[in-house]
Symmetry: C2
Subunit: 753 residues, 2 copies
């Protein structure tokens, strides 16, 4: 185009022919614009029209020319910010064009273009933050590993060294029999290494170290999860049911052989018709006065034991939970040792074993069903720590209530609700390690003409992974706390610790579910290939939300415990009065004492751990008081309590969650306080802040509804969450390195480079 | 206790010894209470103390006696509402006791008991709503099935009859080879039934019925999902790439054999290093002027084709996407037919096939990698609808921009983004059918002494499943709408429809992911057993969120499209002005014109479809305007556009979601309008209301932050959601029956009774 003025149209021509968001409608828009320019001669209009004729497109070369003309003119002119600036320059700063600013800007809008965006595509040397961001080593990962491992560092190291041996190479066969045998063999090696009996008393060959036992469970979980579950069934459920529910005669007879895996066994509680509601178990243990024996019997098909680990193949004995019947009377659920198989594997008379068959995961564990047909066992096979039958054939127990006795028995088995969430957390750590390492290297898309960008640089990708990394760290410290509380517990703390374990089991396993789901998707197609192990991690831990107590049921239990505690704390007034008091008082504390806090958005405040703690505590107290209030109102209104509890189930989940998150927050704060290494402390502080603010953000609906926060503040929190994700991103790889998961366990090709 | 007064303590004794929430601390509380009662003689105090001595518990029989005394006295006295009432009655309405009301109530609180709850456990004949609720047949499921199937009822029926045949029994082998061959055999049967070529032109043996083709894809998805994906690869991706990108010479040569499955083939687009960003594909197709051929070549390891369905075993040819090089110049991505194997299965020279190996799911599909080492193909193998090479060896295309040409090519393949969300929806329907049928029958827990309760009667269980059922219905109608729009499209609508398809693909597949996750957990241990198929449904659809476009990437694309449309609609003012205008105007509309609407909570209003539509539209417009505004602000502030888009990625997801949900809402409303059967209309209306309110509830944080809703209203919405779940529960089984999934396809033992 020899008329310089006309060159003003070049960028528009280029865009309308090449941008994939512009359609035929936009050609019309541009044609109309040309037609309306009175300063153009008819001939000039003709020329311009010819460039935007849908029936006669320009050549590919013409398009490339236009583009390079634009590129040339804006090179080294970072001040250029809109299409109109380019048009002016191309026209040689023609006065006519300069005067057309308004018309051109309107045209851009009509075309749906944001000029500033488009210009990015023409600039070749622009500095793009998104592209240039990467992993940096800013702290010593070994020190952070020490902080995470704490006093269990030694045993963790030992377990890692065992599972890194060549014989622990993953089984790749899809044949279930092969897989089950491999897992069994692995368990034998662990038993030989004295890892299985770690928690048993020393006099029965054990290590008498429960803290180490939990650390073993957790560390084994970096390896195949069928292994850890088989291990947990044998040494945890089976062995510890003897240790917790039996007495010395049982310890002497069984514990050593259980610890060495000479005596593989099962924990047979769940029945087809009773999984969560184990109080309703139907298997019977009828006492026979004549020969002082029990008859173990499955009264109907749905009373069979189901999902029992170790039952389908290897278990030789089982701790069986059954209703004790003496003289026709029901004495509630008690536990009995029942032989299932000969040492040679042959199933005993009266026992019928079924195989649960293929499962979503954990196919290295031989889950089965067990039916008993009038199986006779000797009297001493009753696990008699909490109840026994005396010489006269009478029932005896230090706990007169059947209900309470059963819950006391269950309470001694709460260790499983510590082992499982720790195992789940380890699986989440594996998933995050694989995914974050991959996301740091995997590149996709990038600015026009520039190189592609690591996907972990994308804000959305950070949003998906980094808050979960923070949550994983948070849960780590909370589970350490739970373990310590459990190990050093006294009688009066038991109920609190049981509730906390139940809650943390649910919280941690749900977090793992969410984390691995996000990992799978964040790794795209690679995350779907079994070689990268996210499928196994996800499918194996999928049942963690169900076994050892269904999470939803556990959360209801935790909430009931909180309600009871709440009532005890406010005994001096009548219930409604208390509730109103707490409720209103909490509100007053916020809205009157701190009139500006609901709108406070400065960084110092948002990152202040006192603000976080206050917000978490407020939510905890308010959801609890509100649930109590609602329940009371419903019952006062004439609803049966059972129905009333049903109506508030949804709120009960909130009550438990708010309680658990306050504990987790406090424990994260506490853990950071004692860290000496300033660099590790710094990055953990950022993770802590991200955990705190992500949870507040996640619950922003509640906070806004309540009036504790206003919109301006929740928006500031969202921004801060994004900002923290961005700031932590360069440390993300180091943060997963600090989990120190053996490479042979990670195994995923996408994570190993 | 002969002194009647003392009998007032019986309920407390019973509770402190039997309630599992009371601990040793509570014994102390009770002891102190007894000690402080001046009206008791020392001897009486001694007697009472002896009943609450931790070291000397009462006998089991004593406990049972106390319980039965309480039960007797409150029988047929529904007016009894607190422990104190019982104490008074047991004391024979003693005046001393009556005067102690305050002290007793305080004691109850100190013990952490809510008397009203506890009494529920003593009442034997109470009417518990939760127990007595069950499935009812209130509408004709066949009519609803007709409504769902619409004009495709005939083909749907045919497909169901085919996949219900004995030869379609599920493959249970864990051997991948066996499974792949079975799936291949199934595909052959479907081809014989003329189901594969349904969309191809009649002159090439097809049925020329795209609507039926989509219905086939959807219905097949009630069966094994490997089957539907293998089917989709062969007849959809492979066949339709020929149909959409090729010209008549290709149709004549290939379409018939593809439709009959004589010629199995692949769609080879994705490369290891380029999955989402396919513009960056590196495979080259170099034109050889001398003999008018192309050389197809994989320039580096990471440019290999990956995840290609049909490649590992069966594919004989592939549509290969590669950069066209002529005379050393790059002409962008084009598509070429490349032979891979002889008909006898032998891989051709220059082709290297890898096997993707075991995957999380879809193991009946033989995904593989393909590498090309200077493979020569004739010129006519270029799919030349959008670009060709003329006799002179020059590149020719009606679309001069390489970028735009490639997106035009991709646009013709958008059918996959209709087939996949429909397949995903079918999988969600299967999962919901299994889970809701099971939950209606599975009983667990119940009021003390009463029978156990179907778990679908629990509010939390309803909350988990019924909103997802409503969402599944909502998506059903939206996908029908999308399909119709796609089939009747004209050129100018293509961009809108492409964006809608991309968005609905993401929305539907994410919904399926969430639904099946909830189904797995809601079925507990049974949901983990492969026999119940939730594992296969979940694992097979897991990759749906990734393939045919990663969901997160698609949502960004949809948002970009919305931004562009938004700009076009407001061309008359400058950008900032427009945004402010829309933004403020929308606010004004709410807060000034309807000053009470933000707090309106009556049922009629909450269930009003105009309220819903307004709320959805408001969210759509506001998120869009707000993202546009933020983007502009960031760029004006000096950020490069690429970085600015990165910063707002999170908001972009909201923009897309709000847009999609508005469309889904409208289509659900529209679908209901035309239903004649009043009963079906009634239940669909409830489902619609639940969908609408659940989505508002899910986004309540946003609505509250914005000020569109106030806390009092979001609370009322939560209650209404709960209420709707409760009201729909008796219809839930009928609502899944209406999906009319063949029993042999459901297969799950827990669903078939």
């Amino acid at each position: 185009m020899t008329n310089l003025k006309l060159r003003a149209f070049i960028p528009l021509f280029y865009l309308v022919w090449s941008d994939d968001l512009l359609t035929q409608k936009e050609f019309l828009t541009l044609q109309e614009f040309i037609g309306s320019q009175n300063w153009l001669s008819e001939k000039e209009k003709e020329l311009l029209f010819s460039k935007v004729n849908v029936l006669n497109p320009p050549s590919r070369e013409q398009l490339i020319d236009w583009k390079s003309e634009v590129e040339k003119i804006i090179q080294d002119k970072p001040s250029v910010r809109c299409i109109f600036d380019i048009s002016v320059m191309l026209s040689g700063n023609d006065k006519t064009i300069i005067d057309l600013e308004q018309a051109f800007v309107k045209l851009e809008n009509d075309l749906g273009i944001l000029g500033e965006e488009v210009i990015g595509d023409f600039k070749k040397n622009a500095i793009i933050f998104t592209s240039n961001y990467k992993a940096v080593k800013r702290f010593d990962t070994e020190i952070l590993t020490q902080i995470l491992d704490g006093e269990q560092a030694k045993i963790i190291k030992k377990v890692k060294s065992v599972i890194s041996r060549p014989e622990f190479a993953y089984e790749t066969s899809t044949n279930t029999d092969v897989y089950r045998e491999k897992v069994y063999d692995w368990c034998k090696i662990l038993a030989e290494e004295n890892l299985g009996n770690m928690a048993y008393p020393k006099q029965y060959g054990g290590g008498e170290n429960l803290a180490d036992y939990f650390a073993i469970m957790e560390t084994l979980s970096y390896h195949d999860l069928s292994l850890v579950i088989k291990f947990g069934v044998q040494f945890g459920l089976w062995g510890m049911s003897i240790q917790s529910l039996g007495t010395e005669k049982h310890y002497i007879k069984y514990l050593k052989d259980i610890g060495s895996l000479k005596l593989p066994g099962c924990f047979a509680m769940t029945e087809t018709n009773h999984g969560s509601n184990v109080k309703g178990l139907e298997t019977t243990a009828t006492y026979n006065h004549g020969d002082q024996t029990f008859t173990i019997h499955t009264p109907n098909e749905n009373a069979q034991k189901e999902y029992i680990g170790n039952a389908a193949k290897h278990g030789q004995m089982a701790t069986v939970f059954a209703k004790l019947i003496i003289g026709g009377n029901d004495y509630g659920i008690n536990a009995f040792i029942v032989p299932l198989r000969h040492a040679n594997g042959k199933v005993l008379k009266g026992i019928t074993i079924g195989d649960c068959g293929l499962k979503m995961g954990l196919n290295g564990v031989d889950n089965g069903t067990i039916r008993f047909e009038n199986v006779i066992i000797p009297k001493e096979n009753m696990l008699d720590r909490f109840a026994s039958i005396n010489e006269k054939g009478e029932f005896e127990s230090p706990i007169p209530s059947d209900n309470r006795r059963f819950f006391t028995m269950l309470g001694t088995l709460v260790g499983g609700r510590i082992g499982i969430p720790r195992s789940a957390l380890a699986a989440a750590k594996s998933g995050l390690t694989i995914t974050i390492r991959y996301s740091d290297q995997r590149k996709q898309f990038g600015p026009e003409g520039g190189s592609e960008v690591p996907i972990l640089n994308y804000r959305m990708h950070q949003r998906r992974l980094i808050p979960l990394l923070a949550k994983t760290y948070a849960i780590h410290f909370a589970l350490q706390y739970l373990t310590n509380r459990f190990i050093t517990k006294n009688e009066s703390e038991m109920q609190e610790i049981e509730a906390l374990a139940a809650g943390m089991k649910a919280y941690s396993t749900w977090s793992t579910r969410d984390t691995l789901q996000e990992c799978r998707e964040a790794c795209g197609g690679k995350g779907y290939l079994s070689e990268n192990r996210i499928d196994a991690l996800k499918n194996d831990t999928e049942i963690y939300t169900t076994f050892e107590g269904d999470n939803t049921v556990l959360m209801q239990l935790v909430a009931k415990n909180r309600l009871s505690e709440f009532r005890k704390s406010f005994g001096e007034m009548d219930a409604v009065g208390i509730i109103n008091y707490v409720y209103e008082n909490a509100k007053t504390a916020i809205s009157e004492k701190n009139p500006i806090i609901t709108r406070k958005t400065d960084d110092d405040h948002l990152l202040d751990d006192q603000f976080h703690l206050h917000a978490f505590l407020y939510r905890e107290k308010t959801t609890l008081a509100s649930a109590a209030k609602r329940l009371k109102k419903l019952i006062d209104g004439g609803l049966e309590p059972y129905d009333a509890f049903n109506v508030v189930q949804h709120q009960m989940i909130d009550v438990s969650q708010a309680y658990l998150e306050r504990i987790i927050l406090e424990q994260f704060q506490a853990a950071i306080q004692f860290i000496k290494d300033e660099k590790c402390k710094g990055i953990l502080l950022k993770l802590y802040q991200l955990y705190a603010l992500s949870q507040i953000e996640r619950n922003k609906g509640w906070y806004l509804e309540d009036g504790y926060l206003e919109g301006v503040k929740t928006k500031a929190i969202r921004k801060m969450v994004n900002q923290l994700c961005w700031e932590i991103r360069p440390d993300a790889v180091s943060l997963v390195e600090a989990f120190d998961i053996p490479k042979s366990c990670l195994a995923a090709p996408i994570a190993l480079y």
